[in-house]
Symmetry: C2
Subunit: 231 residues, 2 copies
């Protein structure tokens, strides 16, 4: 088979970011796949339009294309059931849907104001303009103003992770003894932040910090090899 | 077999409350069991001391006893694997641990200040005193003061349920097409509130309201038959 993945990048194509693309990249590795990357920038809408999407990730699998990280995880699980399971059964997949929303809202959404101002310098001018304009409309203020209170705001973000922190007291990963897609849902956003921002999202004595270290090391250090800031 | 469940009650023993006991009651029904109830009040510590617990639920299964709703769910799943699964496989159980913490923190914790002042009138004087004293220490103020701003505070509670609300847009239950323990984790707290408080936790047009209606009807309306306030 021939797998290719459209991944969001900025000026440095060796530095893919996007919480959602990283979820997919980890899911592919979990299934034992290493898809060829197709670097994609925010304003390259034409490149993915044939795949009925305006956003990445978009996975190409031979003649098939699948957009959206959750849809891709389900596609991989259904298409390649003989490979290691992403969900650990139908119950894991069902409640995984809720985990995915929690990841989008509490993790991606909680992180975004903390790191958003660090993103434009990583982008080509045309993408930086696009990013700044669309995100400033969303926040209703300049990105620098959004980020200004982050030393304080990070406390709320850390508190919102408490259910995960408690879980990691009795099991190594959200997926149990080994990581699965539930972990990648949360790790994707952390890897996004690591690639674009020097801001410390987690205290070093946080069990989630230790968990993140293990996922940076997973798959022969795949995520750690991607250039990023020290975490 | 002979199953018995210590369940928290107040002056009306036909009105068991406690988010955790209701999780267990629903889990038992899911497995096809109807355990005999042993009414238990906050200050009856001696009654459950032999079972190494200071809190309910405590399940008695013949000569075995198990305390703590999460431990009981796991016990039932492992002891009675031939009956309908509570988790839908090991992946569901693993991420269910996180759901349980989310349920404790966001749902029970979010609901508690909204309904806490309605609880003492349902208790015997000795239990009402115990409850008020221990909870007022926890909140650092009188229960009536905790509840005073609830018309406003309920908005934050509803927002915190957004990951669940989004999930219910594409599947009927957190467990998928049918409810499982992931649903009971969240339903338990709602049933607790329904039994002790007239306060409206959910807007009627909230998808979580419709989901709760379905769980009130589950198992031949078991939860709805338990006396409570209109929701």
């Amino acid at each position: 088979m021939s797998l290719k993945l459209f991944e969001l990048v900025g000026t440095d194509v060796s530095r893919p970011f996007s919480p959602f693309c990283w979820r997919t990249r980890m899911a592919l590795a979990h299934k034992g796949f290493s898809a060829e990357t197709i670097p994609w920038c925010f304003t390259d809408k034409d490149a993915i339009a044939p795949h009925q999407s305006e956003k990445v990730p978009v996975l190409l699998d031979g003649d098939s294309s699948v957009a959206d990280s959750w849809a891709i995880a389900n596609y991989l699980e259904d298409k390649y059931p003989e490979r290691p399971s992403l969900f650990g059964g139908e119950g894991g997949r069902a409640v995984g849907r809720m985990m995915n929303w929690w990841g989008d809202i509490a993790v991606v959404g909680g992180m975004f104001p903390l790191i958003v101002a660090d993103i434009p310098p990583h982008l080509k001018p045309v993408d930086a303009d696009y990013f700044r304009k669309t995100r400033e409309v969303r926040f209703g203020k300049p990105l620098e103003e959004v980020a200004a209170g982050r030393d304080k705001a990070v406390e709320g973000f850390r508190r919102a992770l408490e259910p995960m922190r408690q879980t990691l007291k009795t099991q190594a990963f959200l997926g149990g003894a080994k990581p699965n897609y539930a972990d990648y849902i949360v790790f994707g956003p952390f890897q996004w932040a690591r690639v674009v921002s020097p801001f410390k999202l987690l205290a070093e004595n946080d069990p989630i910090h230790a968990w993140r270290e293990k996922l940076l090391d997973a798959f022969d250090g795949m995520a750690r090899r991607s250039p990023g800031y020290p975490v």
